[in-house]
């Protein structure tokens, strides 16, 4: 029963995707073409996110901590 619910829900999500991107009115070969392009673009976005986002976050954190670290060091120097 749960599997059936899950399958129905997934089918309903697929139906919403077809309606929103207007694939519902396209012919089957046009639908396949659109699905291929969409999945390719989506896969590229996911891959780019996977490769670049951790590095960018790491660099950003380093930059900000350096900024804050410098402040601390400079005030310590003056106090000395």
């Amino acid at each position: 029963m749960d599997i059936k619910h899950a399958k129905d829900y997934l089918y309903w999500l697929y139906y919403q995707y077809l309606l929103i991107t207007c694939c519902y009115v396209l012919e089957p070969w046009e639908q396949s073409m659109f699905h291929t392009i969409f999945i390719t673009v989506f896969a590229m976005v996911v891959y780019t996110a996977y490769v670049f986002i951790p590095i960018h976050i790491h660099l950003a954190l380093e930059f900000f901590s350096q900024l804050l670290g410098d402040q601390r060091e400079s005030t310590v120097a003056i106090m000395k």
Partner: protein, 518 residues
């Protein structure tokens, strides 16, 4: 949400009209959808151009390819690439009288809607939410039918002449006197076709050197009549009295464009109920403006005659105004009276002038006798002159049905445009794929609806238009509402962000029980 205007005592009742704004996400997704369809349209056109795919639409013969093109291919881009794909929701063949329920012929298409084939099966008892059958007079049984059948045996079906030659029957005179009495005007004149009433009579009333102020969303017949007349046309924003007043002031102050002479006539063209928006014209304010700036008013009551007002006399009675304030009252018999044709009512001098100068009177065939009998009987019924209260009950039932249907739809969370009292109910769909999906899903559930898309509405605001009728019983409306609830959840159409609190005076019936279960 509700704009209740009490404009210095002009309105004797609250005027609740609302056009909810399109949600931003929905608008963006609609444009995305149209973008995808445009790209695929270009692709298909490319394939058709290079003969990789078979071309179904009209094109010239090989020998004529070097001539000036006969078919403007780019302008039909939308028709070829979107309309054709969802075309099966329109032009469905009906094979019974269009009452509350109707029979439809089933059809299939094997090449994606370029051609159709009828399977031969008849889909019976489809609930009809698309016919303009406001008072339920579209029937093939009852007093209207008996009388029309008798007149058919007496006069025949055809008139075979124009009004000015041999087509003026005694029935025409009788009908015109009755229409004048119904509207409360001095005289009236009837024509064979509603569209031609507008398009052929406006040129007879105004000409060059006159000014026409017409509403943004006026019907094609009014626009055509205005253009044919040769007068200058200026458009004011839909139902916006500030815009109309500004145009009137400019017209009086500045006069005609180059010569600065005063305009010969200023005619304001408005409709009683606008059929695509479901909004009602702000008639008290228009009449006040007309009197202040001394212009003339042409009111097209195609959808509102019979449908509004306590006794069905139209939008003038709905607001409690004097029929003599409106200079030209035009209407059609197609919607509430279940017949065909149109009429114009007004002062006797105006109607006598139109009898000689209207193009429709000179060239168009006059109304056919059985149709006239249908109008006579239904009008007498609405006025109560046949001795029963059947007409008054119909008008009341229509008002109740309208308010119930609109309130339930708003409670469910759909975006509904228009005035609370108008029997035309547009339900917003927005996305192009949902236009086709909605029509097909409702037909699967045995309900026939009319969906409207781009050329008739702005490009993102496509809608489904319901016409509530007095012939619909409460059970029929409840069935339709239940199916709409299901289809709304299936297609995610409940965009409204203003949730109406259900009123405590909701009638206690099965539907209330179903909702309290969850």
């Amino acid at each position: 949400i509700h704009h209740i205007t009490h404009n210095g005592g002009l309105y004797k009742r609250p005027f609740n009209e609302a056009f909810e704004e399109t949600p931003m996400l929905v608008a963006v997704l609609t444009y995305v959808g149209y973008g995808v369809l445009t790209l695929f349209g270009y692709l298909r056109d490319f394939l058709r151009q290079w003969k990789i795919e078979k071309c179904h639409h009209a094109s010239e013969r090989e020998e004529q390819k070097d001539f000036v093109p006969l078919y403007q291919d780019f302008e039909n881009f939308y028709t070829r690439n979107l309309y054709m794909r969802i075309r099966d929701s329109w032009n469905r063949a009906i094979c019974s009288v269009p009452g509350a329920k109707v029979d439809m012929l089933e059809r299939l298409s094997h090449d994606y809607n370029w051609t159709f084939a009828y399977t031969g099966r008849v889909i019976k008892d489809v609930i009809n939410m698309g016919s303009y059958n406001y008072l339920g007079f579209a029937q093939n049984t009852g007093i209207c039918k008996e009388a029309a059948a008798k007149v058919l045996t007496q006069y025949g079906a055809g008139v075979c002449s124009t009004r000015q030659e041999m087509g003026n029957l005694d029935k025409h005179e009788e009908l015109e006197k009755l229409v004048a009495r119904f509207l409360g005007v001095e005289a009236a004149m009837t024509y064979g076709m509603g569209f031609s009433t507008n398009s052929m009579n406006i040129p007879a009333l105004v000409g060059k050197g006159c000014l026409i102020l017409s509403d943004e969303l006026n019907h094609a017949s009014l626009v055509l009549g205005a253009r044919l007349s040769g007068a200058t046309i200026r458009i004011f924003k839909h139902n916006n009295m500030q815009s109309l007043e500004k145009l009137l002031k400019d017209a009086i102050v500045h006069g005609q464009p180059r010569t600065r002479r005063p305009w010969k006539k200023i005619l304001i063209l408005v409709e009683g109920i606008y059929s695509m928006e479901g909004s009602i014209v702000r008639l008290p304010e228009v009449v006040a403006l007309k009197k202040k700036y001394k212009s003339y008013l042409y009111l097209d009551e195609a959808h509102s005659i019979g449908a509004l007002g306590l006794t069905g006399r139209g939008v003038v009675e709905y607001f409690g105004l004097n029929p003599e304030d409106v200079d030209v009252m035009m209407g059609t018999f197609t919607k509430s009276f279940g017949a065909a044709g149109g009429y114009i009512g007004g002062k006797k001098e105006l109607i006598d002038y139109l009898r000689t100068h209207s193009h429709s009177a000179v060239y168009a065939t006059s109304l056919s006798p059985p149709v006239m009998e249908q109008i006579l009987i239904s009008m007498k019924c609405i006025m109560g002159e046949d001795g029963t209260t059947f007409g008054k009950d119909c008008v009341q039932r229509l008002a109740e049905n309208t308010r119930y249907f609109r309130r339930r739809l708003k409670e469910m969370g759909f975006i509904i445009y228009g005035n609370e009292d108008s029997p035309v109910v547009p339900l917003m769909l927005y996305m192009p794929a949902k236009i086709g999906a909605f029509g097909r899903e409702m037909l699967k559930r045995n309900i026939g609806v009319v969906v409207v898309g781009f050329p008739a509405t702005p490009i993102i605001e496509s809608r489904a238009r319901f016409c509530v009728s007095a012939a619909h019983t409460k059970e029929i409306l409840d069935t339709v509402l239940k199916e709409l609830d299901e289809v709304g959840d299936l297609l995610q159409l409940k965009y409204s962000r203003h949730r109406l609190v259900p009123l405590l005076d909701r009638p206690f019936d099965e539907t209330t029980y179903e909702e309290t279960e969850d």
